[in-house]
Subunit: 266 residues, 2 copies
DNA sequence: ATAATAGTGTCTTTGAGACACTATTCG
DNA sequence: CGAATAGTGTCTCAAAGACACTATTAT
């Protein structure tokens, strides 16, 4: 690339047509299982397949704003509220979209448990789908639970969205280790057991309740007590739990490390 | 309409004109100090300012391939060899380039100590510049050392490259904690002291030589002995060091954590 | 000789995890 | 009552870091 070519940039049409989109890996926890927000494709390519919500970045629209717009549109929520939204990575293999060159800037979102998205005006069907039902390669969470496929659900995600989802899951697992973002999956007040359920759903591993409890309370700024307790004990018995809200820590120190990842080291 | 008909009828120009570029934060260690590869801009905007090497993604070119091409062009090296190259993040603020909408997919590279880049055929001046000389906000490495500004060097990087560089530095600091990538800054064989110098340059902190030594050898797969030793001791005395090469670990377990980041937690 | 460095030994403190145990609440 | 759960106590082991020390080499 010579300087002259670079200066020719004044003419936007001098460059190969590239479309820039955002895609969102939005995760939530339902009934103790990790779910991802998907939309059913209404036209080719990959007609009828599930895909991550996403779309073109509009002129004068920031990448994050575009991702937030897509996320809110498909969830039917009006503001980001307690959502967590961060950039994940960009995907630009030349053949990833058969129509044209598309570079997608993927984002990762954590959402509290939400009602099912209403079928929007854009006629796109959106749904929270259990991650385990998608049969991802290397999905750590799919070891224990049996994979239940929803009727009419093709397991193959459109485009390279299976890879994007896998990358998002891995990022999410890591983020829970050293940030307090697990609290973004819960309501504003939560019990330690609810927080533990978040970790177990995302990591796909069961954790020792007692040690987890002590560990969470020992990390400065992770959670702070509200002073209140739940109205009732658990559905199968047990004392009422104390309630907590997110503290002011942005990083967990020391971190909550996932159980033995020895096998992932080499 | 069949899939083929649909694709044939598809008009790529229906989308807003966006240019996609790659920029590279290439880091190396020279004389114990962290350096970044920069190019001097030869025309407006930001004429005469330093910028990260980068350029447009070519048709049918993968994002990583584009970043590798830019990296090799400006370093004057022919193959990636022992370079480390990973995607960093994408930057797409609507006004980040005054000419048009540009989304840049930034990459992060670690390089061993290389000769100065020859002024290439493209007449762009490229140089390894000490990171401390750039006066970045929140540059952890700039606390101890005095900032020496090179003659004729504007400290302000072009576009949003200061932010990209800052993000790259933070990523690099974190990567050294839990991956063996520090070895990518050295030659194929290195001493523990050389490895420690890498950590000290990137983290901008001095480490305890004895504890570092024991820690590195205790992490499985981080380094493996070559059996050889250096020909001479250090320039100011001391015994000869044993030589090591990179081991087969992809993650360090347990990790080498940076000294007390308590202040960064809230 | 002096100073600097490579590498090792040892002690203290922190934290992770296993296990046990009590108190509370639901069915 | 019996089972499940919240929360705490305690013990063991791994690891981080401070400090000390020896051996080796350059000047």
């Amino acid at each position: 690339m010579t300087e002259e070519e670079y200066l020719a940039a004044y003419d936007p049409r001098a460059f190969p047509a590239v479309a820039v989109t955002v895609d969102v890996v939005a995760l939530t926890i339902r009934d103790g299982a990790l779910h991802v927000l998907l939309v059913r494709r209404g036209g080719p390519p990959f007609e009828g397949a599930w895909a991550l919500p996403g779309g073109f970045v509009q002129p004068d629209e920031d990448l994050r704003a575009a991702a937030a717009r897509e996320l809110l549109e498909e969830t039917g929520v009006t503001t980001l509220g307690r959502f967590h939204l961060e950039q994940l990575a960009s995907y630009g293999a030349p053949d990833r979209d058969p129509r044209m060159r598309v570079v997608s800037v993927a984002h990762l979102a954590f959402a509290p448990d939400l009602p099912d998205p209403a079928a929007g005006s854009d006629a796109r069907e959106a749904a929270w789908v259990p991650v385990d039902a998608l049969g991802l390669p290397d999905a750590a969470g799919s070891r224990d639970r049996p994979v239940r496929q929803r009727p009419g659900t093709s397991r193959r995600l459109a485009f390279d969205h299976a890879r994007i989802l896998a990358d998002g899951l891995e990022r999410a697992r890591g983020k829970l280790e050293y940030t307090p973002l697990a609290t973004r999956f819960t309501g504003p007040e939560f019990t330690i057991a609810e927080l533990r359920a978040v970790y177990e759903a995302v990591w796909g591993d069961s954790l020792h309740a007692g040690n987890f409890h002590r560990k969470v309370l020992s990390v400065p700024g992770f959670v702070e007590s509200t002073g209140a307790t739940t109205e009732r004990g658990g559905t199968r018995g047990g004392p009422r739990s104390k309630l907590y809200r997110a503290g002011d820590a942005r990083l967990l120190h020391p971190a909550l490390l996932r159980p033995s990842r020895e096998e992932a080291v080499r």
